[in-house]
């Protein structure tokens, strides 16, 4: 009997090994269109590898990754780029090209004229409030500006799902919040968002307050799925405590839950 094809991104028994080291093991997970998912876990848990497998950058040692039922490694490049866009943890750009040209380059999947591509790139820069940077060389941007421009390249690529790998790392507190509300806007416009974060207190900012229960948090520990819970789930604190092996205290500020380290011993 044929298995029901789930729309969106699906991983089935996904495993990935390098030499004898297992990086991911037996991950079964599906992320439907329009979902907002946060991925948390300690360093080395396999979060980035999970993204690379999703993008077809790695050959899984076992299992598969599919988009709308099609294997991501067998999909055409342009077709896959319409489904999934990626903001890597680090991007190094050596060449001093103008920001607008850099963003335009991410329109690769489209067969369109130059004028249309430039318009789309400009619109993407406006969507992240970075239109004033358009003519600046990309190598002269500050960390915060660069990250905004990277987000613009995803908007320009216009994929259904955004895979964001620690997007607000290295940003100051205000820009972190700005960045998360920008992600939130993209989600509310109908995209799926999968966001890796080390800062568990930023997760609540992935959604407006009234949609907090629509955010799903996935815990990854040593390459295995540790939990998959709604952000507002009462057992979230316990799940995070065991994931990071530390005691936490939940503090609610204007309706949003924050997780702070607690001095009390874990029970």
């Amino acid at each position: 009997m044929a298995e029901a094809v789930k729309p969106g991104l699906a991983m089935l028994g996904l495993g990935f090994r390098v030499a004898d080291r297992s990086i991911l093991s037996d991950i079964t997970l599906s992320i439907a269109r329009g979902e907002c998912v946060a991925v948390v876990g300690p360093n080395g848990a396999g979060k980035t590898t999970l993204f690379k497998a999703a993008l077809g950058l790695l050959r899984p040692s076992s299992g598969s990754v599919t988009w709308d039922g099609a294997d991501v490694r067998r999909m055409g490049g342009r077709e896959r780029a319409a489904a999934l866009a990626w903001l890597p943890q680090r991007t190094v750009v050596q060449e001093t090209v103008p920001v607008l040209e850099f963003v335009r380059a991410s329109r690769f999947r489209f067969s369109e004229g130059r004028a249309a591509a430039v318009d789309a790139a400009m619109a993407a820069l406006c969507a992240v409030s970075a239109e004033s940077l358009a003519q600046q060389p990309i190598t002269t941007l500050s960390g915060g500006e660069f990250q905004r421009v990277m987000m613009a390249t995803l908007v320009a690529q216009d994929a259904q799902t955004f895979l964001l790998d620690e997007p607000a790392n290295h940003l100051d507190p205000r820009r972190q919040l700005d960045f998360y509300s920008m992600i939130s806007r993209q989600w509310q416009q109908g995209r799926s968002v999968v966001c890796i974060s080390h800062d568990i207190n930023l997760l609540t900012h992935l959604s407006p307050l009234e949609r907090a229960s629509d955010v799903r948090v996935i815990g990854l520990d040593a390459g295995s799925l540790s939990f998959s819970l709604c952000l507002t789930d009462p057992s979230m604190k316990d799940a995070l405590e065991s994931l990071f092996s530390m005691a936490l205290r939940v503090v609610e500020v204007s309706g949003r839950p924050y997780f702070l380290p607690s001095d009390e011993a874990r029970t």
Binding site: G76, A81, V93, F108, T153
Partner: protein, 313 residues
Amino acid sequence: MSVKLLVVCLASLLVLVAAPFVGASLQGDDSRFILLQLRLPRTLLGALVGATLGLTGAAYQALFDNPLATPSTVGTTAGATLGALAVLVLLPGSQMGLPAVTIAAFAGALVVTFAIAAIAASGRASINDVLLAGIAITLATGAVTTGLQFQADMAATFEAVRWSLGHLTQVGYRGVIMLAPVAGVCALILLLQVRALESMLGGEERAHAQGVDVRHTRTICLAFGAIGVGACVAWCGPIAFVGLIVPHLVRLSLGSTRRVLLPMSALVGSSFLVFCDALARCVVPGQDLPVGVVTASLGAPLLVFLIARRSRA
């Protein structure tokens, strides 16, 4: 920027048009012969070779995301040199339709480069590993060439050294006609990779996520770059520095945007080589310097000057 672009285009075209008239004065009975049968094919050949070297250099620097990459980085020139030398040393004085040296040089270039392209196409090697493999195979090929030279007699060694300096002379219209379609097709195919190379500005993995078939782009760029450069080296010997310097001259004057950098490296490459060749036949009256000597001694200081100007800005 568009004004700068226009100026560079016009200056390049001016050089290309004026070059055949540079040199010993064109008077007397054989002036028509000198202009049409010697200088014109020589200028056309220089334009073809310069364009191929400049464009391939720019494409390789973009592909490897490395400003030190050149058309010779993946062993193309080393392979061609080995092929040419093998014929010069082992079969002295041989002729078969096409000069055997040309055929052997082209074959040598392709064999060596395609070994590298195969590594690149496997997709497992990182692009830096491909670059390293290219350097390693270049050194190994050079060692074989040196060993071959050591075995050769004086006359063959002299021929080999002359060949390895690079020259644009004595090829005539036959060389131009045979090189033009090869260079043209290779240039066209490299230029079609511009959008993929633009996407690679942020690294190969990001380009993959944006829909680029990275292995395909690597293979196409390396293979067609090598065919074009191999054909040039086969006819003219290795002409140093053009493929390294020209893309930098373009980058420093017009910026790094790929869709400007690649075609303009072809245009500036052709005018640069033609200019150097015109200079090569004027510097010492009555003598043709090897053009490779001029490209290096003119291009290197120019590059240093532009870098100094940029770091002051």
